[in-house]
Symmetry: C2
Subunit: 283 residues, 2 copies
């Protein structure tokens, strides 16, 4: 089996590691605009060899795992180059612009739009880890637009990686993911900014930070090159969630200004049910 | 050695467990307004016996680990009841109101104001764990107001628990802790609220949540009974940090509205140095 991974970072690299472990006879080719990353991926054993777009005709799988703005440009070129039995999938955090970009491509039926809800705050080939997708959700959009035989091939791989599948329209995906992923990243970045700005004048503030702070700012380590185009592509939904979040924070602040501690207690108590929701996530 | 723990939850209970492990011959008495918690603490082996305020005269250590509003009321009563060689310490997340509440007490020199920067999002006796304080920071306020001999006794215990000590004025403590702890909690609670409100109409939204969301909303599981009085006591500082946070979020939203993606990239890139800061925390 020939697998091409375009963009050898956290997601593409982790898929490469798992596929190689599942199918030791497969050959994993890597394609990356960053020559250093490509060499690093080979040195780390994340991929077997460097590949070329011109060779995609013989590929079984092509995994496009690049920032979502790059995916818009790369995907049509990839589809132009593949063979009739190649299945291409893309793993980015926005789905509507990607699906639109390939909607009228003659090889649309060789493409499957996915979003594996898996990751860490790290990036690059050295961030690739085994088992990243085990027990995670993979959201698949517009499955009906993919050729049935190729759907089956992709789904078998996702199952082998340990993922559960959810089908969704690209528009719903982008709307919902703004709440449960994109907003969390902005919340974390801006929390980091607020504290860093303070710390400029107060060097020892971080001596006082505990695991709670660390947990809420963890996502502020994420890659701006990956996240800027996500926010750009999902701009309207992200603005909407930010407006709601800012409004909730402002309301909480007003309760504090007005010293309405009963309401503050009730606010927190009603959000406490996030416990059960998060427990449900782990099932 | 006789140790009294007033309020057997996450912090008091975890201290009890560690002290018993360090000094197996000590007796750990528990005092708690919640009878169920008291019995649970005995059943779990977190404490040895139920104690009484009237018996504090013979105590070596009294640990007051109750919500900060309760601490204001309980501390003077505790100081009234203790013996000359008893050292009392309180572990809450605000220090100025507590220090003021005992400032003129005749037994002020038997008290040491502390804030161990340690915890989890859980509460109650079942949340008590061994080793919670290992490698953590303990902030001590107004150390000069504690009798030297009793300071030594307390510091020896904190060292045995594995904590490093930082001395700070109560006012600085409350100002800084608003940034690195109190704000994180509100950010997390309001993020949870924003997503829960959305989810009322969109049941499957949480199917899409990954570890990033989980990390940013973890603190929204925290106890409202513990956190409401913290926000009340540190109201001015918390309002200030919230204003700065809301202003940063609004500015980010405006960059999105104006489609200034270079500025968005730069915002995130400049916050990325939180990586080094968080790594520094682990040292």
């Amino acid at each position: 089996m020939k697998v091409y991974v375009i963009g050898i970072g956290l997601i593409g690299g982790s898929m490469a590691l798992d596929i190689k472990a599942l199918q030791p006879n497969s050959t994993i080719f890597g394609i990356d605009a960053n020559e250093k990353h490509l060499q690093e991926a080979i040195d780390l054993g994340v991929i077997d060899l460097a590949g070329k777009i011109e060779d995609l005709a013989s590929a079984d799988f092509v995994i496009v795992s690049v920032p979502v703005d790059v995916a818009m440009v790369v995907l049509p070129t990839v589809l132009d180059a593949i063979g009739d039995d190649t299945i291409v999938f893309e793993v980015g955090s926005t789905k509507m612009p990607i699906c639109e970009a390939v909607a009228n491509h003659p090889k649309r039926r060789n493409f499957i739009a996915t979003h594996p809800i898996a990751g860490t705050e790290f990036s690059g080939p050295s961030a690739a880890i085994h088992g990243l997708f085990e027990g995670k959700t993979n959201i698949i959009c517009e499955v009906e637009k993919t050729a049935f035989k190729l759907q089956e091939k992709a789904l078998e791989l996702f199952r082998d990686l340990g993922m559960r599948i959810r089908y969704m329209e690209p528009k719903s995906h982008d709307k919902h993911i703004a709440y449960v992923s994109h907003l969390s990243h902005i919340s974390s970045f801006m929390l980091g900014k607020t504290v860093i700005n303070k710390e400029k004048h107060e060097q020892d503030i971080f001596d006082m930070a505990g695991s709670g702070f660390e947990s809420t700012v963890r996502l502020a380590k994420s890659s701006p090159a990956m996240w800027t185009p996500i926010f750009k592509q999902n701009r309207k939904q992200v603005i909407k969630t930010l407006e709601e979040y800012i409004s909730n924070l402002t309301q909480f602040k007003d309760l504090l200004i007005n010293e309405d501690y009963n309401a503050i207690f009730e606010e927190m108590e009603s959000v406490n049910r996030i416990k059960e929701i998060l427990n449900g996530m782990k099932k």
